[in-house]
Symmetry: C2
Subunit: 415 residues, 2 copies
C-alpha cells in the first residue's frame, strides 16, 4: 500500500521564546534540559543503577523523609497519583477525599475507578479545610486511606497538612497527599508530618518538564503494598485473579516498581532514562541552592506577584492567608475581555498566564511563579506586560503600580 | 526536623560512553536528544498544539495508517499496552493472547488484571504461530479482542501479522498488536493488515529514549472506546461506578486521551512535552531517510550481525526464518562463563549486549542492531570485541571470522 508520508516533513523543533507564568508547566531550568541531552546507558548498567540510587537519595531530601521507598513513576504527575491510589486501595476499601478544587475531584475519580468506596467532603473553592473538619470526617467515615491534595492549582489554595498525619495515625488511617503543585515551593515535611505516601511531578516548582512522577512511601504504606498479591511467575500462578488483593494495573503496581528500584532489580518497565536524568537534575539544583532557600525564593516571588497585581488594582481570589506561594488567582476586571488580554500577553509579549477551570472559568487568570521562574525579572516582566495589556484592553490601571509594589517586596533600589 | 540532605550532592549527569547493542534500550540518536533540549511551551500554546498535530501525522506515516486516532501515551511502551487493553476490554470480555515469549505473558497478565476472561495459546520459545492455529483458537474462544505481540525480544521472533487482521475482521474480533520491539525495523502496515490497535515505544528501532508510547487506533477501536462511559463532570454523575463500561483507569482512559489530543482539547494530563519533542524527532528522522529504507537498513545490519556470530562459530537460537531484523539470540558456548564475557564486553570494550529471561536465562546472549545503531561500524565493532572477549574467556574462535562474514553482507571492499 501507499504509505501516507506527510507531503512535506515538518521542520525541527524550534519553539518560540515563551515565559511561562501560568499554573504550570513552566519553563524548565536550562540545566535540566542539558542534563536530559546526555546519552543513554543500559538499564542495568552500573552507571544507570548508580543514577537511580542517587535519584532516590535526592528525592528523600526533597520530600524530607528517610523512606527507603522513594522512587520515580514513569509518567506525568497523574501517573504517580494513580499508582499511589491503585496500589494502596483495595476494591471496597473506604477512601476519604476532602475536595477543595479540581484535583480533589481527580483523586476521588481515580479512587472510584479503583472501585473504592469513596467519601468526599467539600469546601467552596478558595478555601481550605480546618483540621477539625477533616478529623470529624475521618471519625464518621472510618476510611482506610485519606487522600488529600496539598496545593490545588485550580484554586491556588494550600491545605495545611502538618497536623493531619498525627490524626490519621491515631485513627489507623493511611495518609496520602498529592504535592504536584506545591512541592519545592512550599513547606513540606513527609516524615515530620506523618505522611504515608506523597507524589509529585517535575513541571511545577521542581523546574523540569512533565513526564516523571517522584513518589515516597512510608513503611506503613509499603506494608500495605507488600500485603497485596505478587505477580511474578504469572498471574494465574499467583492465585484467584478476581481477588481484591490484586492490583488491577501492572504499570502502576508499586510492589513491582519497588522491586525494580530495589536491590532485587526485577525487570518491570524500561526506565525512562532521559526523564530520570531530568528528575535527578531538578533535585540537584534545588539542593544546591538549599531546599529552604528555594521555598523562601518562591515565597518572596509569590508575595511580589501578589503585591503587584494588587498594585494594579486587581482583586485576588480566595483565602490569601492559605494561598500557595507559587500561584495567584486574579479576578478578571469587567472592563476587559479576559481571553483577549491573555492572548495579547502570549502573542505580543511572549508571556503565558493561565486561564481557569470549573466555577472559576472565565472569572480569574492564574499567574504562577515557579521553579526557575520564581525570580525578580520574570515577575517584573509579567507585571509590566500585564499593565500594558490591561490598558490596551480598555482597563484603567495605575501607571507603574504593579511593578512598584512588587519591587517593594523584592527590596529593589530606586533608580 | 533535620532534612536529610545527602552528605555530598552527586555530580552532574555524565554517563560513560556505551555502545548499546542489546535488545534495547539502545543509544538515542543524538538528533533526538538535541530536539529534547528545546525549551518548553505551554500545553495549549499554538506552537504546542501544532507540534502535537505534526506528531500525529508523523506517526500515521510510521504506522502506515490513516487513523485519525494516532497519539502518544505518556509513559513507557508498557503504558501504551495497558492503555490499549484497559480501554478496549471490559471486565468479563474474552481476550485471546497467543504467547510466544515474555511479552505475550505480559499482555495476558495486563488483560487478567483488567478482569478480562483471558485465553492463551502457546508455542515453544523460538517459534511463531502458524496463521491457521490463531484462526482455530479464535473460532474456539470467540474473543472480543486478539492481543498479539509482533516482535518479542525475549525470543527474537517476529510473528507474521499480515493475514491476521482479515481473520479477525471476518470473526468480528478486534485486533491489537504490540509493536514495541519491531516498529521501524521490520515491515508493519496497520491499515493494509487490518490492525485495530497498535502500540510502540521509542527505545528500540525508533531510536529514542523510553518514556513515550505511540499508539494508533482504527475507527472500529475508537467506536469501542467511545461506547464506554465518559467521565467528564465527575464519575458519580456519569452513572453506576461499578458498571463494566467504566475504564478502571483515569490515566489510561483512551477516550479521555483522545479528547485531549482531538479538537476538543479537553484537559487530561499535562503532556510530557520533552518526550513529545523526542518522539516527533524520532519519526522525522525515519521519514527523512524513508520508512522502507530504514527497515532495509535494519534488515542488512541484522543479517550482518547474524552472519557475523555464525562466522565466529556460534549457534543462533530459534527459527531464524522468523527472526526480527533487529535482534539475534546467540547460544553461549559452554567453554565460557556467559556473564563474564558480557561483563568484559561492557567494562573493557564499552559495548552492552543483552542477557535473557525465563527459559533462555543463562543460555543465550541477545545482540541488537536497532535505530541509530543499525549500522556497519556498530556491528563490526561489536563482532571484533566479541571475538576478543570470547577468546580471552577461553573459547576457541576463528580469527576474524565474525567481521569477515559481516563485511560480506555489508559488501565491504577488501583492504
Amino acid at each position: 500500500m501507499t504509505v501516507p508520508v506527510p507531503p512535506a516533513l515538518p521542520g525541527p523543533i524550534d519553539p518560540p521564546a515563551r515565559l511561562l507564568m501560568g499554573p504550570g508547566p513552566i519553563n524548565a531550568d536550562p540545566r535540566v534540559l542539558r542534563a536530559m541531552s546526555a546519552q543513554l546507558v543500559g538499564q542495568y548498567d552500573p552507571a544507570m543503577t548508580g543514577y537511580m540510587a542517587e535519584t532516590q537519595e535526592l528525592y528523600r531530601a526533597i520530600f524530607a523523609t528517610r523512606n527507603d521507598a522513594t522512587v520515580l513513576v514513569d509518567g506525568t504527575s497523574r501517573a504517580g497519583i494513580e499508582a499511589a491510589i491503585v496500589s494502596l486501595v483495595r476494591p471496597g476499601d473506604r477512601v476519604l477525599v476532602p475536595v477543595f478544587g479540581r484535583f480533589g475531584h481527580l483523586l476521588a475519580e481515580i479512587a472510584e475507578r479503583a472501585m473504592a468506596e469513596v467519601h468526599t467532603i467539600e469546601v467552596p473553592w478558595g478555601q481550605v479545610f480546618p483540621v477539625s473538619v477533616v478529623e470529624e470526617a475521618i471519625e464518621r467515615v472510618k476510611p482506610t486511606l485519606l487522600a488529600l491534595v496539598q496545593g490545588d492549582t485550580s484554586t491556588t489554595m494550600n491545605q495545611p497538612l502538618d497536623e493531619i498525619g498525627e490524626i490519621c495515625a491515631r485513627h489507623g488511617v493511611l495518609f496520602y497527599t498529592d504535592t504536584t503543585a506545591s512541592l519545592g515551593g512550599n513547606a513540606f515535611e513527609a516524615d515530620a508530618w506523618g505522611v504515608d505516601a506523597a507524589t509529585a511531578g517535575l513541571q511545577k516548582c521542581l523546574g523540569g518538564p512533565s513526564g516523571s512522577a517522584p513518589i515516597t512511601l512510608s513503611e506503613r504504606a509499603v506494608a500495605v503494598i507488600s500485603s497485596r498479591k505478587k505477580v511474578e511467575a504469572g498471574i494465574r500462578e499467583a492465585g484467584d485473579v478476581d481477588a481484591p488483593d490484586f492490583v488491577r494495573s501492572n504499570y502502576f503496581d508499586l510492589g513491582m516498581i519497588l522491586d525494580y528500584w530495589g536491590p532485587r532489580r526485577l525487570n518491570h518497565h524500561t526506565e525512562a532514562t532521559t526523564m530520570l536524568y531530568g528528575a535527578r537534575e531538578c533535585a540537584r539544583i534545588i539542593l544546591e541552592e538549599g531546599r529552604d532557600a528555594v521555598i523562601e525564593r518562591h515565597r518572596v516571588a509569590g508575595a511580589a506577584m501578589l503585591a503587584g497585581v494588587q498594585g494594579l488594582g486587581l482583586s485576588v481570589f480566595g483565602d490569601v492567608a492559605h494561598k500557595m506561594n507559587n500561584v495567584v488567582a486574579v479576578e478578571i476586571p469587567s472592563t476587559v475581555v479576559g481571553d483577549a488580554v491573555r492572548a495579547s500577553m502570549l502573542s505580543d509579549f511572549g508571556i503565558e498566564i493561565g486561564t481557569s477551570f470549573g466555577p472559576l472559568h472565565g472569572k480569574v487568570w492564574r499567574l504562577g511563579t515557579m521553579g526557575v521562574n520564581a525570580r525578580k525579572d520574570a515577575v517584573l516582566q509579567t507585571l509590566a506586560a500585564l499593565e500594558a495589556a490591561l490598558r490596551r484592553g480598555g482597563a484603567s490601571v495605575p501607571a507603574g503600580g504593579g511593578v512598584d509594589a512588587a519591587m517593594d517586596v523584592f527590596g529593589g533600589t530606586e533608580v
